[in-house]
């Protein structure tokens, strides 16, 4: 298949996710699609697979334009999209999942189980997967599920297979197995579009590459013409860096330790140790799937740690009970405000008060006058724009909602602030207000641990930076060592050597 995507534009509300992007892939090639989080890779592929309709632009396949692409049309054109997150029904068998929606039927109505099992098993065996087609999917581990997803794409002779970060859950041996299969199919003429953050993989398997940045096409070519370092530079670009917030406000970092994490291990990370000091801002970064998400919630007791301990000034933390973590002087602003932050049915005032009510409020009754007075204090400090604090929280803009959530935690006056992507999905003005607040908190002698993958944010804030790659600490950078290229290299495993 020869694929051409021409001048694709796609906007979501005010956000322009794809700005006039063109993309070409030829028959029997593995094409690496590179870009940072939010660069538009997945959006572009969703347009190709018919999940999103583009605002403008065209898709041409083997010379003939395709109008109004839908998932069904994409399937009939033999295009398969293997999504990053697994789309399997855990209660069905492997073969049922593989044939879902495209069952073999006998006499037009009865599922031909025998034929399905045979076909599915043939594909699974050709991958050396060691998975039985009649196993219930729920009994498989994550890497096996990933293999089933891939097997599903191989089931019908696809001509174009899109893989979005397919190796997140796989170990090196399994990755090599996957690559062997891909090579084999490539020689049969199948085209792959391979989205990944991991440089060693991209350089191992891909023939061509295309780089996107901020929804714009940057460069395309043969992968043998560039190296990992060059690729990282293309990914990152040269960005205008704004004036420094940190310069204006001085914080004194002391030697005291307010939080000490030792050999932490969870589902997606292992062997992570660090300590935090008063007045210090530490940024923890990593690309999707590097373990940062789970690490953030584990530090707060919201996700269970498998191993390791966390100590504060008051001794080891009791991570079983979030309230006792809060009372030990730790606050966490969760990522994903809509899902984890706001309580949509409560008003602004109550939303802001929740943590205070839990950790500090002593009487049974809630005095609304005092609640209002406390809100006024937060409103002034954070410059939250509201008409009345009894309005629903959902009436506020994203930035103001986030300021309310931050105020929720400022009120409990913690020693350590863990902020998980605190500026996710808010406008630039609100972002800067939040940076300023973080710097002020450090100046007050708080320790702040920020989880983020946005480089400007790291540069604005970090005294130190911890970079994770595949669940392990890839680098521990001091402020002078922090550069966008360095961070991107460590988070893509550039210095980790080849795959074998």
């Amino acid at each position: 298949m020869i694929l051409e995507m021409k001048n694709i534009v796609k906007t979501f509300g005010p956000v322009q996710a794809l700005k006039d992007v063109s993309f070409t892939a030829g028959r029997g090639e593995i094409h690496g699609l590179l870009g940072e989080n939010g660069a538009g890779k997945t959006t572009l592929m969703n347009v190709l697979a018919g999940s999103f309709a583009p605002d403008s632009g065209s898709i041409v396949i083997d010379g003939s334009p395709v109008e109004g692409m839908t998932p069904r049309k994409a399937a009939s054109l033999k295009i398969r999209f293997i999504h990053q997150e697994l789309n399997l029904c855990n209660d069905l068998c492997v073969y049922q999942n593989m044939f879902l929606g495209e069952e073999y039927c006998a006499q037009g109505w009865k599922i031909d189980k025998k034929r399905e099992v045979q076909h599915a098993q043939r594909v699974l065996d050709s991958m050396n997967s060691g998975i039985l087609a009649t196993t219930v999917v729920g009994e498989l581990d994550t890497s096996q599920k990933q293999m089933v997803e891939i097997a599903r794409a191989l089931l019908f002779s696809s001509e174009l297979i899109i893989m979005d970060e397919p190796t997140t859950a796989l170990n090196n041996q399994e990755i090599m197995k996957l690559f062997t299969i891909m090579e084999k199919l490539k020689h049969q003429g199948v085209t792959f579009i391979y989205i990944s953050h991991k440089m060693p993989e991209l350089f191992h398997i891909c023939d061509k590459y295309t780089v996107l940045r901020d929804g714009v096409f940057i460069q395309s070519g043969d992968i043998k013409d560039i190296d990992e370092h060059k690729a990282t530079e293309l990914l990152v670009g040269k960005r205008f860096v704004q004036a420094h917030i940190k310069d204006g406000i001085q914080a004194v970092i002391t030697d005291e330790v307010v939080l000490k994490a030792t050999a932490l291990q969870g589902k997606s990370f292992r062997d992570i140790s660090f300590s935090l000091h008063p007045g210090e801002i530490v940024v923890c970064t990593g690309l999707q799937g590097s373990g940062t998400d789970e690490l953030a919630t584990s530090l707060f007791g919201a996700t269970q740690l498998h191993q390791g301990s966390i100590e504060t000034k008051g001794g080891p933390l009791n991570l079983k009970d979030i309230r006792s973590v809060m009372r030990s002087g730790i606050a966490m602003i969760p990522r994903n405000r809509k899902e984890r932050g706001i309580v949509p049915d409560l008003n602004i005032r109550t939303n802001k008060s929740l943590a205070f009510l839990v950790a500090k409020h002593t009487s049974f009754l809630v005095d609304q006058k005092r609640e209002h007075a406390r809100f006024e204090k937060s409103r002034k400090r954070m410059n939250i724009r509201v008409s009345s604090d009894r309005d629903p929280i959902t009436s506020l803009s994203g930035g103001n909602q986030q300021k309310v959530i931050l105020s929720r935690w400022l009120e409990i006056d913690a020693d350590v602030y863990i902020m998980d992507n605190p500026t996710q999905g808010i406008d630039v003005g609100a972002k800067f207000a939040i940076y300023k607040l973080v710097v002020e908190l450090a100046a007050e002698g708080k320790a702040v641990l920020v989880f983020t993958s946005e480089f400007p944010e790291i540069q604005q804030l970090a005294d130190r930076c911890i970079v994770l790659y595949k669940g392990e600490v890839a680098a521990h950078l001091s402020r002078s060592e922090i550069s966008e290229v360095a961070i991107m290299e460590y988070s893509t495993g550039t210095h980790k050597g080849s795959l074998q």
Partner: protein
């Protein structure tokens, strides 16, 4: 022209505000008007207090149900719990001849019944629908076994004083009406003035965010069932006093449905997060008004359920269109 258009929008906005926030009052008034048109005698003191008297026992249960639904859960075991506690209550009364011990027993037993539901939901991680379906079946079976087909009847010795609790009046106001109003008031205060009330709505609205704010979601859920259980106990005590003879097989049957209906008509979101105790209070009365109007209008009693069903659907439909705006 422009000015006029703006005024129009403002007016629409206001009207929407009123229908959103006061829907329970609107439907209550509407029903009252219908009732008065059907029979002016509806407004007599006797008839009005009668609404409260008939609604009180289910109404007290509905207060507990309000909390449960506001937190995004459900309880099907109301009727069986009331039957169990009232049957046992009569046994305790007959054995001890003490009103105080009986009411303590009923409410204490209610606490335990609620605790069982709560722990199975939180520690056992079983859906509230299933847990309470099971306890509904279990409690009914226990009380049937204890009753062996016969009723639990209050002894001669305690008959008059026990019956007076439900049947008596204070300054012309029926005791049951006072009980219902006081419990509703306490529940309304609990939900609007205390931390606990805030936690209940937070858990029902966004459990994840509530947990990450440090709220102990499991404890809140358990306490909700415990509070509701205590109210079922009080309701059981009043029911026993009102009837003085409890039929194990039929006592309290259908209470769960009436309680859920009252909460739904009152404007509490079935998804949790938003609830109105005053709405539930009016909801209980509305169910009684519908009943009374149908009798006064000589509608065949078998059709009572049909009309109630239609009104529940209309009330909840009105809510869901509001949410979709």
């Amino acid at each position: 022209m422009k000015c006029l258009a703006m005024k129009n929008i403002d007016w629409k906005e206001r009207w929407r505000n009123i229908t959103t926030n006061y829907s329970h009052w609107l439907s209550f008034i509407l029903l009252m008007v219908v009732a008065i048109i059907v029979s002016p005698a509806f407004l007599s003191w006797n008839n009005l207090t009668n609404l409260f008297v008939q609604g009180a026992v289910v109404g007290i249960c509905a207060m507990g149900m309000s909390l449960i639904i506001s937190a995004g859960m459900i309880d099907l075991s109301v009727g069986s719990s009331v039957a169990l506690l009232s049957g046992l209550g009569v046994m305790v009364l007959n054995a001890t001849h003490s009103l105080a011990l009986t009411v303590l027993f009923c409410m204490g037993g209610g606490l335990i019944v609620g605790l069982v539901n709560g722990l199975l939901v939180t520690k056992g991680r079983i859906a509230p629908f299933i847990v309470t379906l099971a306890t509904m079946s279990a409690w009914r079976s226990v009380i049937n076994q204890l009753g062996q087909g016969g009723p639990f009847t209050v002894n001669e010795a305690m008959y008059a004083s026990f019956r007076n609790i439900a049947a008596g009046r204070l300054f012309g106001i029926p005791h049951l009406m006072i009980f219902f109003i006081v419990i509703s008031f306490i529940t309304a205060m609990l939900m609007s003035k205390t931390k606990f009330g805030t936690y209940v709505y937070a858990v029902g609205s966004n459990q994840q965010a509530a947990r990450l704010s440090g709220i102990n979601v499991n404890r809140v859920k358990t306490l909700i069932f415990v509070y509701a259980g205590a109210l079922y106990g009080l309701a059981a005590f009043l029911l026993a006093s009102r009837l003085t003879s409890i039929q194990a097989a039929s006592a309290g049957s259908g209470y769960e449905m009436d309680a859920i209906a009252a909460v739904a008509i009152g404007g509490t979101s079935m998804d949790g997060g938003r609830g109105k105790i005053l709405g539930t209070f009016l909801g209980v009365l509305m169910l009684r008004i519908i009943n009374t109007v149908l009798i006064m209008a000589n509608v065949p009693p078998f059709l009572n359920g049909l009309v109630t069903g239609v009104i529940i659907i209309v009330a909840v439909l009105a809510q869901s269109t509001k949410k979709g705006r």
